[in-house]
Symmetry: C2
Subunit: 224 residues, 2 copies
């Protein structure tokens, strides 16, 4: 569980669109905000934005439906708070812990970070899957607000690897989403993986081995 100790000002720049005073929520009222975000994360990831009802979210959070509009200004603002929350957690997994001399090392760390995050929080992938199937205001906001830095870093690493002749010969324009699909989709579709293979529980070591396999799949130049 990563959810526990999140900073309470985490979503302050996003949830308060201007109406609800978000500048001084000091007491434990943030508790209900957190519970609403957690419940909304589940509902949005499962059913998409349109499919998730504010009443279902409220019930899951043990709250009343109008509290969503009270603590957040709208369903859409709640959705943005959820995305904000998930991306904050993602950064913790992808943050470079040092400088990298070798782009292969950086790539390796990037893949592993994304694998570990996807295993623990598949909700972000699922949430994006729902929105990314079409042009969409929410998706555009997500990309512009959060995804760009990640995409840019991924592109930079990939370009460096390609320049050294390490990369697999998949189409350039498709390389990045191919990576993303290969890494995140298994965890996003985990309900059906488990439906086939029974309940699974990947330990750290297994995930590290899996990540290394992915690295070698996309960097055949490593062996030669």
């Amino acid at each position: 569980m990563i959810i526990g100790g999140l900073p309470r000002l985490l979503c302050s720049n996003v949830s308060g669109v201007g109406d609800v005073g978000s500048d001084a929520p000091d007491s434990l009222d943030l508790d209900i905000r957190r519970q609403l975000i957690d419940a909304a994360t589940v509902e949005f990831a499962r059913n998409g934005f349109a499919g998730a009802s504010t009443r279902a979210i409220a019930i899951r959070a043990g709250a009343h439906q109008p509290q969503i509009n009270y603590h957040f200004s709208s369903k859409e603002a709640l959705w943005r708070a959820v995305v904000d929350d998930l991306f904050t957690q993602l950064s913790a997994f992808l943050e470079p812990e040092g400088t990298f001399d070798d782009p292969v090392d950086e790539f390796r760390q990037w893949v592993l970070g994304l694998v570990l995050f996807s295993a623990e929080r598949p909700e972000l992938s699922r949430l994006i899957m729902h929105e990314a199937a079409s042009y969409n205001d929410r998706m555009n906001w997500l990309v512009d607000t959060f995804a760009r830095p990640f995409v840019d870093r991924r592109d930079r690493i990939w370009a460096a690897l390609k320049a050294r002749g390490f990369t697999q010969a998949i189409d350039d324009k498709l390389a990045e989403s191919t990576l993303l699909g290969a890494i995140t989709i298994p965890f996003a579709l985990m309900p059906h993986v488990e439906r086939i293979h029974g309940p699974v529980d990947f330990d750290r070591e297994t995930l590290e081995r899996h990540a290394e396999g992915l690295v070698r799949a996309f960097l055949p130049g490593l062996d030669g």
Copy 2:
């Protein structure tokens, strides 16, 4: 366009749940059924089942909303007809054109088929993405009714390749969905690929090269 010459009895086993007489639609009334299916394919792929409204589908098809319940018995039956239609098209791409002595050849043909299909009809992947994020009656029906044979064949090919030591060292239980993600996601997320790289148009040769790159990514044993 593959849509054109589909047999008119294509969805007869699915759309007519028992009420609307589906046994003798002989004249050109099937035209509106086809237009409804096409429109529904777009809407469902974009917005998911809950997010797509029957009125939006009808408008896109140039029809009236009650015609959906007349020609199909319900929104859900229309959704199933769409899936039926898409899987029929998929089979045309994946059908083995002969027997394969070498599992590598069969794998190569399978990957290429799925790449070509995903490029031409990304709607199926998008539609599945919407449903597969959770346990779901619709998804279960889709798997039980259509996906099983495809999954089984993929598993069989992969197992044969693994037995020969060709496969990449990614986790077994994740291998299949990793494959699926790597192959289909780029096309499912094409709107955003194009948002980054500008409009793209892949010719057959490019797709074949891309597919071969994917094959080599997952079968590093080919080189050694």
